[in-house]
Symmetry: C2
Subunit: 128 residues, 2 copies
């Protein structure tokens, strides 16, 4: 999703497209699954509180996804659906798009699924 489109989404929800929000968005676009400090490092001109608030707003409108991969919260642009592969040895996080999930197999008759998350833990090639 281009920045322009996100700006439209922000305004459409009655929020303002401030320079700070754009700076955070640009920071998020540089790399997926960043911690708060990593994001901050990419837009040091934005105050800490504003980064927190911006991530809240962007999550609320569905532009950002908050992750919990075991080591504190991480954030990423919610572009395409994907999952994470986490190396427990070096901490490296990578992504994969294929979703090896067959929800029909579960037979969730009374539950209306809106999303799911899948994380795979193990040792990456480099660490083996």
């Amino acid at each position: 999703m281009r920045l322009e489109a996100v700006v439209g989404k922000i305004r459409g929800r009655g929020y303002k497209a401030t320079p700070q929000r754009l700076a955070v968005l640009r920071a998020l676009a540089e790399e997926q699954h960043q911690s708060l400090e990593e994001i901050r490092g990419r837009c040091p001109e934005v105050g800490l509180v504003t980064v927190y608030r911006t991530l809240d707003v962007l999550s609320e409108i569905g532009v950002v996804r908050r992750l919990d991969l075991g080591d504190g919260p991480r954030y990423e642009l919610a572009e395409e659906h994907h999952h994470h592969l986490i190396c427990e040895s070096c901490g490296d996080i990578s992504e994969f798009e294929e979703c090896p999930l067959d929800l029909r197999r579960l037979g969730l008759v009374d539950f209306e699924v809106s999303s799911h998350s899948l994380e795979i833990y193990g040792r990456c090639a480099g660490c083996r």
Copy 2:
């Protein structure tokens, strides 16, 4: 896993089976995926710091699993492999054992999988 077996595991790793640890274990046995405060409420005689330390020890020896389901850390006895169904409306968490996952489909040639977690979010029957 019976309490007795866990005690053996604790001692086998060089840790001591203290009354506080047993109290935390009993609290964990009462309900899955509890928050720290819920656990504390079930064993108020154990100091806060000791609960944290006990959860660390029990996680280290594989008796406890720490979860991140979006609302702060939760802990549960790592008995059988299972996943979570989270209602985004009322916050209710339930479990399911069937694992609708086919890891072979992913073709993770260089990654040695040790575990995985899967969470399904949506609206439960009662909230629809």
